[in-house]
Symmetry: C2
Subunit: 342 residues, 2 copies
């Protein structure tokens, strides 16, 4: 092992705007050794998520900022190559919060073992069975408290979280309206995924009016991944006692100036609405329940999703940048190298 | 009755910034006649509230905007002079949502009868037994879900709502920190009202740091009457799963440009916090329970409050303007004329 190289993307400087190869750089370092209670894993898949952009800021957040010089934090799926933790053995497949690098050392307690009889592609544990699937699952059922008959408005509805969320809300008997940025995305979520309506926010004219037309009785639950102008338009369409699941704010992640909260902030009071700041990690203990439910829906053909798998460690930064262009289709994942070579 | 004059303040034009006598004008009109199911009352006291400024805007709100030419909407205490509603008789004392005018016609269903055996000053039904007392009562207990041992941060803590709120939170076993704009106000809320700490936000330097020092374990419940920079400072001091009771935003009421939501909006997500848009009117059915509790605390000497009573109908606008200077001490009320003359 000691002669192997550990390729790594690390944070050289904090990005202003869209992260560049000046901000996120590559280097080769030595493969680390696990200490007592730790596990060395070979990473097979990286999860490429908008949230990572937030961790690059030097601001208070739900996780500490990525330190300058540190590898880029990310959820990964990997295989145990050396274990000094009693719950893990060489060859175990695991997922957890690691980094964009070939080899990570993790505390055993932070890793989740993938069942030995797993029949699904490994990267599912970075999407439908991982945070991407659990985010809309607990976000709608717990933070959003959706109920049958309610109107749910999904932002980024053709995205990984939004497309799963809309399908979950449909299964639960809600009317679901999705916001997406192209006609093809709108077609996909309505025709293939069963959303009731879709709004192309780039071409619809007044988004406030378009939401009002699609949701004539108002919005009961707005699931917000984006913030900004889309959030502001949603706020003007709330029903009394509406709930806003505040899950992300991608519109502001690359901003160079401080981004204010919504201009229509007052509507929260006017409609006696609730904004629930939402982190899927609060439901970590309940992931097995969510995974079981998602697997069942998957087998029943009631849930569909898309992955965009980018091959090769060296393409990781480019895959990340693509998130902010809105051009990716489905959950973005990097396959570090062929499984067979791992 | 028909020869009496009905003096009235009405909305001539929508204010930009602080309302002036060009925006809110006086006129004399005829005394109206009640229709079927309605009641004519002689107003004795006007409640002078920041919320009225919001109703002057032509924007969606929890009540419709005051129309141009219409009298200024306000809670009042009055005496029935003519009733065409079975529940009210001449001479009954009542409170309800009426207007800045000598005589109002109200739907019977919108008025609350003051008990015939009432032993308190009539204007108490505009403050401690009215919306001003019920706002912090239900705001903290229901919207804020305060629990013994929690840290509660009160904005506008020397104001009518804030000063009562802090005392209620103390009775419920919370640690209470108040924000106020003068040393005298800070002295009053700590020495006379029993707040644990007070911060003069005008002289404390960094408000973020001052709150952090006063609330080293973070803020569990922030009661927001003000919005703006004070809200932003509070957001940087939230404990995980904190609750923000969004009750008002006086800092923005006179703004001429759209006021954004808080710059530290992201902290709501980062701390899994809840913003509860709060209208005391949602708890209208439970007012009797709240009034009973406040009366008991009042008799036990556990609740203190201040009123600033301005004498004379003609001084109503001036009293209203004073709210936005931060110079009023206690709940602002206009006594329309001597009770004896009513």
């Amino acid at each position: 092992m000691t002669e192997a190289v550990n390729r790594q993307f690390y944070l050289h400087q904090r990005p202003e705007g869209r992260p560049t190869s000046d901000d996120v750089r590559r280097r080769d370092v030595a493969v680390p050794s696990p200490g007592q209670g730790q596990v060395l894993i070979k990473n097979l898949y990286f999860s490429i998520d908008p949230a990572i952009r937030g961790w690059m800021r030097d601001e208070p957040n739900y996780l500490p900022p990525i330190e300058l010089g540190a590898p880029i934090r990310s959820t990964t799926v990997g295989r145990v190559v050396e274990s000094r933790h009693p719950d893990f053995a060489e060859g175990d497949e695991v997922w957890g919060m690691n980094a964009w690098e070939d080899y990570s050392v993790a505390e055993g307690g932070t890793l989740v073992k993938i069942p030995a009889d797993n029949q699904y592609p490994l990267q599912y544990y970075l999407d439908i069975f991982g945070a991407v699937g659990m985010t809309p699952y607990f976000g709608l059922l717990e933070a959003g408290q959706i109920k049958s008959g309610q109107t749910v408005l999904m932002s980024a509805a053709a995205g990984a979280v939004g497309s799963l969320g809309g399908q979950i809300a449909k299964i639960k008997g809600c009317k679901v309206v999705g916001l997406a940025g192209s006609d093809e995305k709108c077609r996909w979520i309505t025709e293939d995924l069963g959303f009731d309506k879709a709004i192309n926010y780039k071409t619809c004219g007044s988004l406030v009016d378009a939401i009002a037309e699609a949701c004539p009785e108002g919005v009961d639950v707005y699931f917000d991944n984006v913030g900004g102008e889309i959030l502001d338009a949603a706020l003007l369409n709330l029903r009394d006692h509406a709930r806003i699941v505040f899950c992300g704010a991608i519109s502001g992640y690359n901003a160079k100036e401080p981004v204010p909260g919504p201009y229509n902030w007052w509507q929260i009071l006017a409609k006696s609405a609730v904004v629930q700041g939402y982190l899927v990690s609060n439901y970590f203990d309940r992931f097995p329940e969510g995974v079981k439910q998602m697997a069942q829906w998957l087998e029943e053909g009631r849930i569909h999703f898309r992955e965009e798998i980018v091959d090769g460690f060296e393409n990781t930064l480019e895959a990340f940048q693509k998130l902010f262009d809105g051009t990716n289709e489905g959950k973005m994942i990097v396959r570090v190298e062929d499984d067979s070579a791992a």
